[in-house]
């Protein structure tokens, strides 16, 4: 399925995609499905080794901006059919997302978000703390002020999604090179004409930047200045338990989230407001800390006291690729032509990536752009017309 490490890259391709996470592989698959031949995916580590494989696997439609809601809704529709389409079990389970708050002042925002989501065709409900017990019976609601619940939100296993796309790519003739690093981009007369890698040169008219936290550095190689910043985020899994928790529980008060995977583990994390924002992932390590473990354990056992007896198995870290308005950056640029980016998902690339790849493949192969994608172009930052999504958690 994936060539071993000693093969040279092909001398030419119709498109080179950088990054073999959910975004890169979905984009490559969708380009191939639209009939593009000779697509090469270049991945500097292994499949899903960047942000995708480190994420919590959540897929939600509860956002405060219409673009994020619409893109997420389309992604949920896609995830519902993904196993069939890719011919691969991706462990998608729609247990819903329960978004809780312990602050009275959040309630108007939750009500407004619910109304906006309902207008976009997402069946989110506003709940009282007592209603939450019907969804998570052992939740400690003593400090809860309210919640919203969307039953069609869910989770999937991130690596399975990556492997499913990789296999589908392979069936469509896409060549995936792991352990291969992009070292340069060739631009001639304002057009992308090729890339160099540590395994040789590839002549290509199209370069798709799906490098996640490394997207800003890659864009810098073609002279495109992305406003993205990188943040370290930590996450953990527990031992496996019998099914006991249907939804993803997520708090907009303190940024904790936890769900139960189909393997039975509690998977969860918590945002840390003291984490700095960086320009490049090289400026910080993907190391795990005791600070995270203690902060997560305290909040988990406070909200869900029965978890006190459950053992944490392991923790790890990943990076969010964060934009100023917490919405992704999609599209191409005026100079150089042939360069495209699918980045800046601000911690939500796993849930939005499959649909972003589908829209972007249409743009790259036909030049036609959905208005939704146009509204997510890099130009919006220069125009200064930003509407940040308020529900970035974790």
């Amino acid at each position: 399925m994936i060539p071993l490490h000693n093969e040279p890259v092909p001398a030419s391709a119709d498109a080179v995609v950088v990054g073999a996470g959910v975004n890169g592989l979905a984009a490559a698959y969708e380009l191939a499905r639209r009939g593009m031949c000779n697509i090469v995916v270049v991945e500097k580590n292994y499949l899903g080794s960047g942000s995708t494989g480190r994420c919590g696997g959540g897929i939600r439609q509860q956002w405060t901006t219409e673009e994020n809601i619409r893109l997420a809704k389309e992604s949920v529709d896609l995830y519902e059919n993904m196993a069939t389409e890719l011919g691969y079990q991706v462990f998608f389970r729609q247990g819903g997302y329960l978004m809780i708050t312990e602050r009275e002042e959040d309630l108007p925002a939750l009500r407004n978000a619910t109304a906006l989501q309902n207008r976009c065709g997402v069946a989110t409900e506003f709940l009282t703390p007592r209603d939450c017990l019907e969804i998570v019976p052992d939740l400690n609601i003593s400090e809860l002020k309210g919640a919203t619940f969307c039953p069609t939100d869910g989770t999937a296993y991130p690596f399975a999604v990556v492997w499913g796309y990789a296999r589908a790519c392979h069936r469509h003739g896409v060549k995936i090179f792991i352990r291969t690093t992009l070292t340069g981009v060739e631009i001639t007369a304002g057009r992308v004409t090729g890339v160099t890698t540590d395994r040789g040169r590839i002549a290509t008219p199209v370069l798709v930047n799906c490098a996640g936290p490394w997207a800003r550095s890659l864009a810098g190689m073609v002279g495109v200045d992305l406003p993205n910043r990188q943040e370290r985020h930590e996450i953990m899994v527990s031992e496996s338990l019998k099914p006991f928790l249907d939804p993803m529980v997520i708090s907009i008060t303190n940024g904790i989230y936890f769900s139960q995977s189909m393997r039975g583990e509690i998977v969860g994390g918590i945002g840390d407001p003291t984490e700095p924002k960086w320009d490049r992932p090289e400026q910080f390590g993907f190391h795990s800390g005791l600070r995270f473990a203690v902060r997560f354990a305290r909040e988990l056992t406070r909200l869900y006291p029965r978890a006190a007896q459950v053992r944490m198995m392991r923790q790890w870290a990943g990076a969010y690729d964060v934009t100023p308005d917490h919405r992704p950056i999609l599209g191409g640029v005026a100079d150089p032509t042939g360069y495209y980016h699918i980045c800046g998902f601000s911690g939500h690339g796993f849930m939005l990536g499959p649909m972003a790849g589908r829209h972007m493949a249409r743009l790259i192969t036909t030049g036609e752009s959905d208005p939704l994608i146009t509204s997510l172009s890099l130009d919006r930052f220069a125009a200064g017309d930003l509407q940040a999504d308020a529900f970035v958690v974790g």
Partner: protein, 101 residues
């Protein structure tokens, strides 16, 4: 004994045959094999199986054992309950290495 009956990872019930089959499907990296087969993700967190998995992968790839690198070791060294962790003081934020933002 048949390799279908030899367990490589006892916590997660992964046999040598299953590990080889995963390699045959294109999972040629220890990091990917860990995530695909579940090897080393159980209660012992790899203490009982990671070396043997690396040795088997070296054989499959035809490279010397000493060229194999282990997967990233994740804390905690021993599983701890959330109750035990919650009882600890919260460590101060660390100053990350590298330049300031």
């Amino acid at each position: 004994m048949s390799s279908s009956k030899i367990f490589l990872c006892r916590c997660e019930d992964v046999t040598v045959d299953e590990f080889r089959a995963a390699f045959g499907e294109g999972f040629t990296e220890l990091e990917s094999l860990k995530r695909y087969t579940g090897v080393s993700t159980g209660f012992c967190q790899g203490k009982g199986c990671l070396c043997e998995a690396a040795r088997e992968l070296a054989r499959l790839r035809g490279i010397p054992e000493q060229d194999m690198k282990p997967t990233t070791i994740r804390p905690p060294g021993e599983p701890l309950t959330f109750g035990q962790l919650a009882a600890l003081d919260i460590p101060a934020p660390e100053t990350p290495p590298g330049e300031e933002p």
